[in-house]
Every structure is written in C-alpha cells, then in structure tokens.
Symmetry: C2
Subunit: 183 residues, 2 copies
C-alpha cells in the first residue's frame, strides 16, 4: 500500500521559509526558520525544532454529491504559482470526539458550512487534510493550504469565516503557520 503518512519537520532546512508562527487558541509552536514535508512517520530528531505527523485518510463528513463537486474543481498541490502556504494544526475538545457521527456532521456542514466555504475558494486555494487524532500526536488535524500570493485575500477570508463558525467552539488549540516557497 502506498504510504499515506507524512511528517512536517520544522528546523533549519526545508523548501519552505516560515513567514510567521502565530497561536490562535492555546499554546503556540516554537519558532523555526524553515519547514520540510517528508514521507512517512519520522521519529523526533535533534535536528528538528518540532515534527508533526499525520495521515491522509477516507473522508469523514463529505457526502458523494459534495465529493464530486470538490473533485471537479480542486487543484493539485505543487502548482508553480502557489508559492504561499499555511499549515494549521488543530486540536478539538473531548466534547467534539464524544459526539456521534450525525451530530458532528450537523455542526461541521449544516451549521458551519465547512465544505461549502472551501468549495467557494476553489481552485484558488488548494487544501489537503492530514489526520493525527489516532496517531498519539498533540494535534488532531493538520491542514495544509497552497495558493498564489495574489489569492491571499481569498485564503484570509476562508480561515476568518471558519474561525467564526459553530464548529470552532470545539477547537481547544490552533496554531497558524505561514510559509513561502523558496525560489
């Protein structure tokens, strides 16, 4: 099976320059100048300031009609013009994890329009979700975004709307890492 595991390694090397690391809710992550994305679950390294791990997995809330709408417009990662990126690690509350599937879906989409808001910014803002909740990691999700600098306002609008949504009442910790791809 292809490896769906990836590690985000912050430290002194990497193809991404860290522009800013900002705590949104709860504790921040230590500052580091560069970031690399490496295949596999990398063990902690003395070369790394921090390492966050995640796995791409099946969709948990998207229904088929939404999946097909997303698939029709979502771009791949690594587009040449998409030199701006954000890594947003999130930890949700235990109250979130104790909800049943239908309750989580209701908050996620019917109340918070998480999928719909993301679709509106496609194909400008590419996105990939990594799951960490079952991996004994400090965060539950790592979301990676890539966009052209000219589309920065679209990305800011997207994260601002999500942070005002009912779903975000279940966010216990959130850090916002902004990056720029090295030339």
């Amino acid at each position: 099976m292809e490896d769906r595991h990836f590690s985000f390694v912050a430290g002194s090397s990497g193809i991404w320059d860290v522009v800013a690391i900002t705590p949104v809710t709860g504790a921040s992550l230590p500052q580091a100048p560069r970031l690399n994305i490496v295949a596999g679950l990398q063990p902690p390294s003395t070369d790394a300031t921090w390492t966050l791990r995640g796995v791409t997995s099946q969709e948990r809330y998207v229904v088929r009609t939404e999946h097909d709408r997303l698939a029709a417009v979502q771009p791949p990662l690594g587009r040449p013009q998409a030199t701006s990126a954000a890594l947003i690690p999130i930890q949700k509350t235990s109250a979130w994890w104790e909800l049943s599937q239908d309750q989580r879906r209701d908050i996620f989409e019917e109340q918070s329009h998480h999928i719909e808001l993301g679709i509106r910014e496609l194909p400008a803002v590419a996105r990939r979700l990594y799951h960490s909740h079952d991996l004994d990691e400090p965060f539950d999700f790592l979301t990676w975004f890539e966009y052209a600098p000219d589309d920065g306002a679209r990305f800011e609008s997207l994260v601002a709307q999500l942070r005002r949504s009912p779903e975000w009442q279940y966010v216990l910790r959130e850090v916002d890492v902004r990056l720029r791809r090295r030339a």
Copy 2:
C-alpha cells in the same frame, strides 16, 4: 491523554488460549498457542508469532439515537462469565475506502444492519472495535468479542449474518481467531 492504542500479541504467553485460527477470506495468520492484549503500540518482537495493533476511536457511522441504545445495554469487557472470545481482523477493499461517508453509512447500516444486528445480541456479546486503517497495519479493523460459552450460538448467528450482508462484499481479507480465557 489516555492511551487508546492496543496490541494483540500472539505467541507462547498470554491470558487467552487460542482455540482456532481460521481464514475466512484471503490469507490466514500463523498458528500460535496464546494471545495477550497489551496497552500501547508494541514493536514487532521475536517472542511474538504475530502482533496486530489498533486504536479505539470516535464512532464513524453510529448516529446519536443508536449510540444511546447501545450505551444502555452494552456490557464492559472482562466479565467473569465471559470466558469465550473472538478476535476478527478485517481488511476492506480500496473500493470501500473510496466511497463517501453517506455511501459507506448506507451500506453499513441501511443495507447491512450492522449496528442493529449487534444490538440484538446485547448484553450477551460484548464488543470493542479497534481501528488500524491509518496505522500502516495489514488489517483495517480488529474487532474483539467476549461472551459466556452458553451464549456461543448467539455469537455464531451474529457473525454469520454479518458475513452474508452487502457490507461484506467489501471485505478483502478476514481471519477468525477464537480464544478461551485461562482459568
């Protein structure tokens, strides 16, 4: 956070005697006389014939009304009279994982009555699900069942019905490990 990870270690020691290891679909697991359940993700050991790892996690298909019905009748593991057990590791097809959430729920419950069939055998047959799909393991799920020997027929009826259900068309590999607790 409490550790939700567990390892099923088959070998020469353990509180469970292995009664039989039977392949249901695809390749079996090697025979071993005993089994232990150990907290944490245990690394492969030369003492172990095989080790399977999983994590208890949020419910993926159960809706709130079903959750509450289950919670009202499901017994804990480790009841003194529940000296029979089964460990059933399952790998599902890539076609299953490519389905969206609503399609998987429809097959799982509306077509296959997976939750409803399980509720019918409660409180006789206790059950715990461990997820392995995101852990780089050979199986996607490990289900553990415990019941009194007198309730064996109820357990056999449950697994027979599930194996005839539409959901099982997405099972690529299944092994059936039967156990008896040592006195």
